[in-house]
């Protein structure tokens, strides 16, 4: 019942935002919206909601709870940054953006807590609609193109995923669609049907998780959407894709095709890492650059799932801390745009002189995203590498190391260029909003602290998720 009340309140708040007659009402509605999120959090942690089922379609399990907490944190930052980022927009554009942001946050919550494969799918489809609206926010030909591609490819992908879900349900069980029932029945399912179903689901969900093969729409979406929204798209939405895939992975864990599923995930992960590594060198836009970094990191997470064992733990850990780091970098990029009015890699420079704290945020973010200690990603990547070697997969370890070297070189070269190379354009830097740079840096510092010391509840949640 709680979750339905939550959905109702969120929808009402989003509707109030959509019809708001001033920016102050939009901000007030935002306050109400995040108060509702706080109430759900209080229900989870103070009222004994965590670990319980909520109706027949939802459950407040460890995975859902962890990703919900992360998403609300990022969404709150995104909301605050968007207020400044969109201050020159007209009221209709302004309120539509925030209403869509609230709807996206609500749909993501639905994906995280869904305990039924069909319900997960419905909410993922819902995220497509909200995200398409955010991508089209600027109403230009480019954003329209990106929104069209996103809507079209995601819909095609999600239709394929639905075919996979139908097949999975038919092959595994007749009637029940909860993950638990599916997992129990998958053990005796027809292996070939299960394999076909997994391929279709993986293909469909890849557009959300930003991994091979449908990663391109995510890149275009992050590029076209306003930077603060990109922070949510490349973390909250990507996590939704990851979690949806993780649940199918857990369903198939007891089936005879699990070994094959893991091989497929390793292959998809390596291909994603390869694409990320190569395109990090090629692109000339900082937002696309960060998006390719997301593809690379999600590829690493897929490899972790593919390796299995401690690799699953590392994959979840990696995704959790990638959320902090990538959202922080995208929020820093929002400040960069305020300064330069663009994201062109070959022309921007001198950021250290123009906005020292923003530049420090980007440099610290570079260290974190490259998984240099004390970045928490160091721990996850090291664990994945160790598991790879423990499994005698030398070829995989070598490929991983080579691709990670390319990633390190590309990221260092390009983000350092922003901070130190002379500005090669006749741009007229305006004053940067240092408060926003500080706030984005706070997210990053939280990640670095957690890299050294993880709070017990966090490790408990990650351990529980990794147990499948």
């Amino acid at each position: 019942m709680t979750i339905y009340v939550y959905f109702l309140l969120c929808l009402l708040t989003a509707a109030a935002t959509f019809f708001a007659r001033s920016r102050r009402i939009v901000h007030a509605a935002g306050g109400v919206f995040y108060f509702v999120q706080a109430l759900l959090l209080a229900h989870l942690f103070l009222n004994g909601g965590y670990g319980t089922a909520c109706g027949s379609f939802f459950a407040f399990d460890a995975a859902g709870t962890l990703f919900f907490v992360l998403m609300i944190l990022v969404s709150g930052f995104v909301f605050a940054h968007s207020e400044s980022y969109l201050r020159n927009n007209s009221l209709p554009e302004y309120r539509l953006y925030f209403a869509l942001l609230m709807l996206l946050t609500t749909a993501l919550t639905g994906v995280y807590f869904a305990d039924n494969i069909a319900v997960t799918w419905i909410f993922l489809e819902g995220t497509t609609l909200c995200a398409a609206g955010l991508i089209y926010h600027r109403r230009t030909a480019q954003t329209l193109e990106a929104a069209w591609k996103y809507l079209f490819v995601c819909s095609t992908g999600i239709a394929m995923a639905y075919l996979g879900i139908l097949l999975l349900c038919t092959a595994a069980t007749r009637g029940a669609l909860s993950y638990e029932a599916l997992a129990a029945a998958a053990a005796e399912g027809n292996p070939l049907y299960l394999k076909t179903a997994f391929l279709l689901v993986l293909c469909g969900y890849s557009c959300k998780m930003e991994i091979f093969p449908l990663y391109t729409v995510g890149i275009d979406a992050n590029f076209a959407a306003p930077s603060p929204a990109s922070a949510l798209l490349s973390t909250g939405l990507v996590n939704a894709g990851f979690l949806a895939l993780l649940r199918v992975y857990a369903v198939l864990a007891g089936s005879p095709v699990f070994e094959w599923v893991r091989h497929v995930l390793v292959l998809v992960g390596v291909l994603s890492l390869m694409i990320g590594a190569l395109f990090l060198r090629r692109t000339n836009n900082y937002k696309r650059f960060l998006s390719y970094s997301t593809v690379e990191n999600m590829g690493i997470a897929a490899i972790g799932l593919g390796i299995g064992g401690a690799g699953v733990w590392a994959a979840v850990f990696h995704v959790v801390f990638h959320t902090f780091i990538k959202s922080s970098l995208f929020l820093q990029m929002a400040v960069v745009r305020q300064v330069y009015n663009g994201y062109r890699i070959n022309r921007l420079g001198d950021y250290m002189r123009i906005n020292r704290i923003g530049a420090v945020g980007i440099l610290v973010g570079t260290i974190a995203v490259l998984a240099f200690p004390p970045s928490p990603l160091f721990l996850s990547e090291l664990t994945i590498l160790r598991e790879t070697l423990a499994g005698d997969s030398w070829w995989l370890a070598i490929v991983l190391l080579v691709l990670l070297c390319i990633v390190i070189y590309s990221i260092c070269l390009r983000l350092l260029r922003l901070c130190y190379q002379p500005n090669q354009d006749e741009l007229h830097p305006s004053l940067a909003d240092r408060k926003l740079s500080w706030s984005a840096l706070a997210l990053l510092l939280a990640a670095l602290v957690a890299g050294i010391w993880q709070p017990p509840f966090l490790t408990t949640l990650i351990d529980r998720i990794a147990q499948l």
Binding site: A118, W148, F152, L166, T170, L177, Y193
Partner: protein, 209 residues
């Protein structure tokens, strides 16, 4: 009876591969909608009457009337009625479509399992591949849209195969139809035409590295 309708449905998919006129595309989508309506009614007659009525109404209304009507409206509005590219010849398209049909039959035959209706699964797979072929080979956005509708119809067909046990899944397929078809066709397509003044997929190549 159902088998004859499914075979007719397969024929529409083959025809889709060789036709180049948009009016034919829209007519095929309409015909597929009618076929799916008949299949759904015949196949699901055992389920709850209200549920059957809802599924039948939705299939008839959206798949056979509203979506084709929007497609015809787009054709009238854009005044473009043909796939223009010589590169995507009918012959190549037909060969690929036949190969997809052969692959679908082979896969369905090879993994024959009593729990899954082999015919429905094979045809759904063929619809999926036909839609993807249409999206990849044709340059016009209109063809891409039809490709997506073909995939969606294939998914709906397969959902009717297991709908007796799980009518909930058919309702979800319906949700997909209503949300996406109407949104993509009605809103985005008209906006694309207004903003970019073209229907060619090549015009949508500004967002890239």
């Amino acid at each position: 009876m159902i088998l004859s309708l499914v075979i007719l449905y397969v024929v529409t998919l083959v025809y889709l591969a060789i036709t180049e006129r948009f009016r034919n595309y829209a007519s095929i989508v309409c015909l597929q909608g009618l076929l799916l309506f008949a299949i759904a009614i015949l196949r699901l007659h055992a389920i709850d009457t209200i549920e059957l009525l809802f599924i039948g109404m939705e299939t008839l209304l959206f798949k056979a009337i509203v979506v084709p009507a929007i497609l015809f409206a787009v054709i009238r509005h854009t005044k473009i009625n043909r796939v223009p590219r010589p590169g995507s010849s009918q012959f190549n398209s037909l060969v690929l479509s036949i190969a997809a049909l052969a692959a679908s039959i082979s896969i369905a035959w090879y993994i024959a399992d009593p729990t899954v209706d082999m015919v429905f699964f094979g045809v759904a797979l063929y619809a999926l591949l036909s839609g993807l072929i249409l999206i990849v080979l044709r340059a016009r956005l209109f063809s891409h849209m039809v490709g997506f509708l073909v995939i969606e119809n294939g998914v709906f067909l397969f959902s009717t195969a297991i709908g007796i046990e799980m009518p909930f899944l058919i309702n979800i397929a319906i949700l997909l139809d209503i949300l996406i078809s109407v949104l993509m066709l009605g809103v985005f397509f008209t906006k694309i035409d207004r903003k970019l003044h073209a229907d060619d997929a090549d015009t949508l190549s500004h967002v890239k590295d």
